[in-house]
Amino acid sequence: MRQYVARRLLLMIPTIFLISLLVFFLVRLIPGDTVMMLLENASLGEQDVQAYRAKLGLDRPVYVQYGTWISDVLRGDLGTSLWSRQPIVKEILQRLPVTAELGAVAMFFSLLIAVPIGVVSAIRQDTWTDYVSRSLAILGLAVPGFWLGTLVIVLPAIWFGWIPPIRYTGFADNPWRNVQQFLIPGFLLGLGLAAVVMRMTRSMMLEVLRQDYIRTAWSKGLRERGVVYRHALKNALIPVISILGVQIAVIAGGSVIFEQIFNLPGIGKFMYRAIQTRDYPVVQGVNLFLAAVIVWVNFLVDVTYAYLDPRIRFR
């Protein structure tokens, strides 16, 4: 196990290095003069261009610029927002709880919906229940989340004169109101995640249900509930955790849409505004932060998976 963890950690180093290169060159995709573009929205005069260029280190060779930037990043300094003049790390940490809460609610709903449907779909394979569940899962992947979000705001307003809460209330101010605010966006984001979890649960259940120990459980005369829940589901759900890393990426992407629609002050909304105002250090910082989180979650998922299923370690 220790060897596996070490190997997995070693593989993370080049990945993180490449991520940092991609993020570093992302801002250098800007056509024309980066500094002029940056100053355009920072309400500074043109006379500051040279000084600003020197301040940002843009007058030095690219590899020196990268070296300085990465050494700052490694010390936990992602730079300063051009808009708020605040350290980007501080800005991210302020907004992280909102996005994390949205993600947690979405995960909760996705598991609540997907696991039972996936199990029933597998037990009743190739019946109408299975066809309907699978079609629903494909539909869940096809329906755009931003459309559902729009409909949830528009239709109840027309039919019942009711609009979901869109003024943000902090958890410390009013916990119940805060949770209420996350229920609808969390549910809608969870629907998209549920489609993937449902398909995974179904295929894993089908695989496990064909194993010898399940046949043994049936032949012992156990009831369906016992076989399915006590023997099959536990093992079928292990691989489902392997998609957690992918789910975090989907949540981070979805946060841009749902935080925008439901006016939640999380990382997604922060990012949307940063791109709109061309706050490039924030764009760089948030991308790097999210990619690093996803790499780390993937590592934890792989290690947990290897711990739960020893076959992985020896592959």
Binding site: I30, A142, T150, I158, N298
Partner: protein, 308 residues
């Protein structure tokens, strides 16, 4: 010394190296796949019918749509659906049905260009990585890991914020970013084909790397390429509509389905819900069609890819 050159090969080598009547075999294979789809996968055929209908609508859009996409009827703004305007009109009095019909061209253009770029690049990277292995594979796979670590919507939005909105920009950026995930599936397929006896045979007969890759590996990994492309079309169309909704995809007044639902129009939607309903139905329908077809093709062509 390595034997090379057609003259030195035994007679059977020509057929082994893939110069048999490939076109006839390909036609037979296509008919077989279509027949199995029709017989075994009714839902996939349904998806295929949706896709085909959308392609026909896109091709004949100017003939099907009663009005040009941006024609305004100021006297009929936010007009409810009816005989004159089937899906109603928006705040500028533009016919929603006509806009949706014309918008199908944008969605399909972005989808096909993105998938064209993504699938070609993924095939090249996946095949090189899988076939050569070693350090090249290690390096390419770490690069794939790196790209796949970004939340796609955020990174696409960031890039679009920098390069600027536009139909071709969206298609190219989506194509490049979908390359990573797809290349991993192609790599897996190339790895298993590489170990086949016919590849060993070709190598023994003196075929070079280029020939083995193009003549022996590529045709035998066409199944995952077709599946990835079909499912990728739905994903690209969904991604474009999300970007357009957020204002980073196709700029107004182009009739992109996502931008028809953008936040700016929300206050009109509160009195005219049809503005919010029909573009979303169109997006869901086409993505559903591609996903259903892709799923069915996967089951028919390569059931091992389930869950990818």
């Amino acid at each position: 010394m390595r034997a090379s050159g057609a003259q030195e090969r035994p007679a059977g080598a020509v057929a082994l190296l893939g110069q048999a009547p490939l076109r006839g075999r390909a036609r037979h294979w296509t008919i077989n796949v279509l027949w199995r789809l029709l017989r075994e996968k009714p839902l996939g055929v349904f998806g295929g019918a949706i896709v085909l209908a959308m392609i026909v609508v896109a091709i004949f859009a100017p003939l099907i749509a009663p009005y040009p996409a941006n024609a305004m009827h100021p006297q009929s703004s936010v007009h409810p659906p009816g005989a004159q305007f089937w899906f109603g009109t928006d705040q500028f009095g533009r016919d929603l049905f006509s806009r949706i019909v014309h918008g199908s061209r944008i969605s399909l253009f972005v989808g096909f260009v993105a998938v064209g770029i993504g699938a070609s690049a993924a095939t090249a990277i996946g095949m090189l990585s899988g076939y050569f292995g070693g350090k090249l594979d290690l390096l390419l796979q770490r690069a794939v890991d790196a790209v796949m670590s970004f939340p796609w919507l955020i990174i696409v939005m960031s890039i679009m914020g920098i390069v600027g909105p536009g139909m071709l920009n969206v298609a190219v950026v989506l194509g490049i970013l979908t390359t990573a995930g797809s290349s991993r599936v192609i790599r897996g397929a190339a790895l298993s084909v590489k170990e086949s006896q016919y590849v060993d045979a070709a190598r023994a007969l003196g075929a070079g790397h280029g020939r083995i890759i193009l003549v022996h590996i590529l045709p035998n990994i066409s199944a995952p390429i077709i599946i990835i492309a079909t499912l990728g079309l739905g994903t690209a169309i969904l991604a474009e509509s999300s970007l357009s909704f957020l204002g980073y995809g196709i700029p107004q007044p182009a009739p992109a389905w996502g931008s028809m639902l953008s936040l700016e129009g929300r206050r009109y939607m509160l009195t005219a819900p049809w503005i919010a309903i029909f573009p979303g139905v169109a997006i869901s329908l086409i993505v559903f069609g591609f996903n259903m077809l892709g799923d069915a093709l996967r089951d028919v062509l390569d059931p091992r890819l389930r869950g990818t």
